[in-house]
């Protein structure tokens, strides 16, 4: 399994029946492919839809039914459409149970930077700042390192997305949470040791005695 799929599958285990979930572009989008059987999750697309379905069959795309990247999607029975003010009212107002976003850096207190690299790449924050500030639970889906450098850092060198800490970071190596505001290793992926995660991480990691090593954890870390 490639790193992206590994991450998406692990995050999908955090889904619960009835949740309203917003998935960012990239790895987060893949999470929708692994919804556990028997549960119904509402996926919101911030451009104005709840009930986003899979990519349409050839010839069935509608120009006015798209994801937040402008790509054609379908709508499931029970879908609903709304304007951008309602969409962000849902996001900012605490109605979103979960958002899954990509990340450039996460600091050891859980603060995310994911919207620009000054002087180099300035895509803009789009909905990211509202999502991180407003969602009940924020999970960052990202590879553990980029160009050999850990993305889980002591301090973000890039501009922050929000001063609200995220709840969980899921990489191909580990699941990291922030109980008491400090980066804490909760779980390592299949075949990955705690020492390997520590070696690959710039941030100082709290290692609890009950860390689940080697994957296979069946429970989620949803806050009570």
């Amino acid at each position: 399994m490639d790193a992206q799929t590994l991450i998406a599958r692990r995050i999908a285990r955090e889904l619960r029946d009835g949740m309203l979930v917003n998935l960012g572009i990239g790895i987060p989008t893949l999470v929708a492919n692994f919804v556990p059987e028997g549960i119904h999750v509402f996926f919101q697309s911030e451009n104005g839809l709840i009930g986003t379905g899979p990519v349409p069959e050839p010839g069935m795309a509608l120009a006015w039914l798209t994801d937040a990247g402008g790509k054609p999607v379908t709508a499931l029975p029970g879908a609903c459409a709304f304007d951008s003010a309602i969409s962000f009212g849902l996001i900012r107002g605490g109605h979103l149970d979960l958002t899954v976003l990509g990340g450039l850096q996460v600091d050891q207190n859980g603060r995310l930077a994911n919207w620009m690299i000054p002087g180099k790449m300035v895509p803009g924050m789009g909905g990211a700042m509202d999502l991180v500030t407003g969602a009940r639970r924020v999970i960052v889906a990202m590879q553990h390192a980029a160009k050999g450098r850990s993305k889980i850092v002591r301090e973000c060198s890039l501009p922050l997305t929000s001063d609200r800490p995220v709840d969980l970071v899921v990489t191909e190596l580990a699941v990291i949470g922030f109980p008491e505001g400090r980066a804490t290793l909760l779980e390592t992926a299949d075949g990955v040791t705690v020492d390997q995660v520590i070696a690959a991480t710039e941030a100082e990691l709290v290692i609890p005695s009950n860390v689940k090593e080697g994957g296979g954890a069946s429970t989620s870390y949803e806050s009570a």
Partner: protein, 215 residues
């Protein structure tokens, strides 16, 4: 309802105007109005919109034609030309969190001076803004936005100007239809009065100044 030809609609927009333009990655953008802005070379524009789509699509065409001087948007990530013009200092870009942008436009259309949002507190977005505490939580005061013209896409309009939208083409359109001095609407279908059920009208007719006809 006043109808107006595409040519005349765009002719009434002076160079240097501020425009709110509906759409999200080009979806729900009134494309014929964009094309006509390019044809008439309306320059020096301030554009308020969610994004600049990508080159060749929607607002991306205005960027490629270098007609925009000032951009107020939430996202330019899928249009490298916008980023190049910005980095080269040819285009002023204000990046606004998307939910803040929706509320600033809504405030402009609803007679509010602004709103207090938690989004952006403690980030670069806070620079130059008032931080206001309410019940122990910090918020940024984000002020209302208005424009000279709103360029709106609707799926259906009736002869009076009542509008309804379709799926993800709705996005910023109904908000912008309230927040500009003059509202120009390009629609896929114009139907007789009474054919849109009152509960399905999203933008009431009195908000619309002109329905733009083809040609």
């Amino acid at each position: 309802m006043k109808t107006i030809s595409l040519t005349n609609a765009v002719a009434m927009i002076p160079a240097g105007s501020s425009l709110m333009i509906g759409g999200f990655m080009g979806v729900g953008t009134p494309e014929p109005l964009i094309d006509e802005l390019v044809r008439q070379q309306k320059s020096d524009l301030t554009v308020i919109a969610n994004d600049t789509a990508s080159p060749g699509i929607g607002i991306g065409k205005l960027i490629s034609a270098r007609l925009v001087r000032h951009l107020i948007v939430s996202h330019i990530g899928l249009n490298p030309e916008t980023q190049q013009q910005m980095i080269a200092g040819e285009l002023k870009v204000d990046l606004v969190p998307q939910g803040t942008l929706t509320e600033r436009i809504r405030a402009g259309g609803s007679g509010l001076g602004g709103i207090l949002t938690p989004t952006g507190v403690g980030t670069v977005v806070e620079e130059g803004k008032r931080r206001i505490e309410v019940d122990g939580r910090d918020y940024l005061l984000e002020t209302a936005l208005r424009a000279d013209f709103a360029l709106v896409h609707a799926f259906i309009a009736d002869y009076l100007g009542n509008l309804s939208y379709v799926l993800t083409a709705r996005n910023f359109n109904p908000l912008m239809a309230m927040a500009a001095e003059t509202v120009l609407v390009q629609t896929e279908n114009i139907v007789p009065v009474g054919l849109i059920a009152p509960d399905h009208v999203v933008t009431p007719a009195p908000l619309v100044d002109y329905l733009v006809t083809k040609g």
